[in-house]
Amino acid sequence: MTSHFTLKNHFHEGRIVNDRLIFSALFAGLLFIALIARLIVLQVVEFEHFDSLSEKNRVDISSIAPQRGLIYDRNGVVLAENIPTFSLELTPENVPDIDDTLQQLAALFAMTEEDMLDIKERIKQQRRFRQVILKERLTEIEVATFSVNRHRFPGVDVVGRLIRHYPQGALFAHTVGYVGRINEQDLQEIDVNNYKGSMQIGKTGIEKQYEKLLHGQVGYQQVETNVQGRIVRQLNSMPSVSGQDLFLHLDINLQRVASEAMGDFNGAVVAMDPKTGGVLAMVSKPDFDPNEFVVGISSKSYAALRDSPDMPLFNRSLRGRYPPGSTLKPFIALAGLEYGVITEQSKTFCPGWYTLPGQDHRYRCWKAHGHGHMDLKAGISQSCDVYFYDLANTLGIDRIHSFLDLFRFGRHTEIDLPGESKGLSPSKEWKRANRNKAWYPGETLISGIGQGFNQMTPIQIAHATAVLAMRGIDISPRVVRASRPTGQSELQLFPAQTYQTLPIESSRNWEMVIDSMVEVVHGARGSARHIGKDLPFKIAGKTGTAQVFGIKQDEKYDAETLARKLHDHALFIAFAPAENPQFVVAVVVEHGGGGSTMAAPIARKIIDQYFGTAVNE
């Protein structure tokens, strides 16, 4: 095929192609030098930059949430525990189209329009890398449903975690409190680093007060992640430290009896051990199921609780401000003895009313026909108002105020629970400052019987009764008895907090008042004598009936014609045994009518439970 013509130029053609080959080889060499130069730029010049980018790509610090400490009653019964649940969680930054994803999930899990709005709101508030819980306590079927469809939902995961559970339900709702989702406000108060990975925080009660002990210390793991952010390998870790378990003074049996004894009435019961300040029972009625709050209460249920006229969320034992009524009388009497205004023998005549000199307004005794001649013991045991009108008038409001202040009326008892109210023990100074008015002598009279401006919380009343029972030793009330630090079996006891011994001159004064209170329960004419039967020891008590609204002059109080919400509050304070007190109880029954008929029997039931005594029906 090749002709001689081509052959003749073979050498020439060879030269042509070889020249071009050499040129091409040199050119290729240049291109490769360019490649090497590029690689030097990337791998040597910019090495640091890319190296740090690479590290960022692969190393992720993830936190390990500590296990929250458990809460036990004094018998070792669990009041707050952690149970495993599965929840559906979404990490906003990993979800390509949040609206679309939510819509599809709503169809899959039957979530309502309301839920969706709530979720969207929470997604907006959270930072993009923080998980948002879409649905908690998934059933096994729901977990399976999601697993099948999981590929459709990048950034959404079923996460198993421990959540708080209150096996006793509503019984300790106010005292133990509950945990809930960490919100913006919480974030400002906590060490955010320690809560990475934690979804919940104590919101009320012990859960809030002892948050630091219960929560524990967050742990970390340094992990290698792949491009989806999924963990491939653990590089380093620091384990979390579980929260401490708490052991309470509260006794579940006593709590249950107290709660049941209240029946349908609203109100509060506080029972204490006066020697330690330990709170043995603390009931506020009505109550609610704290477990609803743990998983995120629906806005509808929350509105129902919040707007109920009975205010179930309101912890009455700490924050309910009630006029103490006649339960204040023993303290006023003690003030009279201490200031030397009265003696055990001094008498006042009760015609059924009292008038101030120069006035004709009648301050009435609850017994319209009068008690006749009253001494200290009769005044207290029969709860004669006139006796105390006269005593208060002689003492004057400022002496009453400063004496009651010793018992922490109008001050915090400093119980280890959040949100305690100070109550109100009035004085001339207080009225000038807050009402901008002068103090009227008549106001002293009604203050002397625990009415008027007086407002006291059940814990204050119980604590003051405990101080009285202990003959002046002021021990702060405590709900938590001990903690168990992580990894230890020994309990660490919290010592009783003794503040002071009241500066009472004569110990005889204590005994006079306490004897009078024994008379209330065991005397022939005592206002609570019906609860004093069949007991191997003596109870010292005092009934109280607090007016909810004023009765006009010359009008009679007729319980039957009044709506229940206008009925008087019924109160009762007691401690036993009178000579060596081991147990203090204060009962407030809202609109219960009389302290004698309503509150005293409740107190007796609680005393029976505590001492193992029983009333023979």
Binding site: T2, F5, T6, N9, H10, E13, G14, I16, V17, N18, D19, R20, L21, S24, A25, A28, G29, L31, F32, A34, L35, I36, R38, L39, I40, L42, Q43, V44, E46, F47, H49, F50, D51, L53, S54, N57, R58, E224, T225, N226, V227, Q228, V232
Partner: protein, 376 residues
């Protein structure tokens, strides 16, 4: 050995080189290829997360490719020249068939499913185009006349356009360049070359107009990868991080975090160079590039020693195109060139391109070992 007679006549010692020569294999080229393939397997093992299944498949492909190499090495270059028109014609028809009936893979129609075997006609064209152009131009004295120049350009452009339509811009460019290299080696005047370069530059806007959206996107991404870090710029950004974090000596074999944590896309195929850079550093990739240059250099040497213009042109085109492959792939992975789907020769995982490459080396060996023995 049965060549002891031969040994006695020639005062040279028996050697592996001479033994291989008898079965038409070139020892130098073979050594280079084997080193590259071995390095490729080591790297692939790491890139594929130590999957031996993938490695075995790659080994089987190498076996197939070596068979093809051996067969071609034993076919005389003249037979190849004779079959150039046939191969080209069949390839062209298959390209049209693929466009009409082709099997879709990754948004492009490249495959022809023959039931037991999936075949990419564009791979055939990688050899058929330079073969035909070399054969056509060598028919008449070099340098070619302008008429023959136009015919050869048409031979190059038609299949390139068909392949670009699939769309497979990378392969189309490689095929076009393999043909153009033949034209360049044939000695056309520099005036024409410069004029052609000027014309192509002027034609860039037209090219933009006919490009597919995804191709335009690639170009835009190339110009500014950070504009879309999670979308189309992602490949390049992650690839640069992998390369840059490799540093001078690399993170060590199997220890490349970018590669193993799945940040690096296409790490067993087009982006395998980034894995090498991350694990073996600048030193490792420099050695690899030198290895490529040596293999191609041997090819260029073979071309320069070839006895016919056809063989010279063909061998030159095969060797230089091999370097173009390497340059385009490395340029793309390091962000110097836009992302076009070009695998790293001999190392990337994938079947057909391996066979085509070794077939090319088979042709080189055939050219070198079928010389008449009058010149040593």
């Amino acid at each position: 050995m049965n060549n002891s007679l031969y040994d006695r006549r020639q005062p040279q010692q028996w050697s592996v080189t001479r033994a291989l020569r008898l079965i038409h294999l070139d020892a130098m080229l073979l050594l280079g290829i084997l080193i590259l393939l071995a390095a490729g397997l080591v790297i692939l093992y790491s890139a594929a997360d130590q999957s031996s299944a993938l490695l075995i498949r790659q080994l089987i492909r190498m076996g197939t490719a070596f068979t093809v190499l051996f067969v071609l090495a034993n076919i005389h270059p003249d037979r190849m020249r004779d079959s150039a028109y046939w191969l080209y014609g069949v390839g062209l028809i298959l390209l049209v068939v693929v466009l009409v009936f082709g099997h879709e893979g990754k948004g492009a129609q490249r495959w022809l499913d023959l039931g037991f075997f999936r075949f990419q006609p564009s791979e055939l064209m990688k050899l058929a185009v330079p073969l035909l152009v070399a054969s056509y131009l060598a028919e008449r004295p070099l340098p070619p006349t302008s008429g023959r120049l136009f015919v050869s350009l048409a031979m190059i452009i038609v299949p390139s356009i068909l392949i670009a339509k699939q769309p497979d811009l990378g392969t189309a460019l490689l095929i076009a360049s393999s043909g153009l290299i033949v034209v360049f080696l044939s000695g056309i005047s520099w005036r024409i070359i410069l004029g052609f370069i000027g014309l192509s530059t002027a034609a860039l806007p037209v090219l933009w107009y006919v490009m597919h959206d995804y191709q335009r996107q690639r170009v835009l991404t190339f110009l500014n990868p950070e504009s879309d870090p999670l979308g189309s710029g992602y490949h390049i950004i992650q690839s640069k991080i992998a390369i840059g974090s490799g540093g001078l000596f690399g993170r060590g074999w199997l220890d490349g975090t970018q590669s193993h944590l799945a940040f690096l896309p296409e790490r067993t195929t087009d982006f395998i160079f980034a894995v090498i850079s991350e694990e073996f550093g600048l030193v490792g990739v420099a050695i690899l590039l030198v290895l490529y240059l040596l293999v191609a250099g041997r090819g260029i040497y073979i071309a320069s020693k070839a006895q016919t213009s056809f063989a010279r042109l063909l061998a030159g085109s095969i060797s230089l195109t091999f370097l173009v492959y390497v340059f385009v792939n490395v340029g793309m992975v390091t962000g110097l060139l836009p992302v076009v789907g070009v695998p790293l020769p001999m190392i990337s995982y994938g079947g057909t391109s391996m066979v085509t490459l070794l077939a090319g080396f088979g042709i080189l060996m055939s050219i070198h070992t079928h010389r008449r023995m009058m010149s040593p």
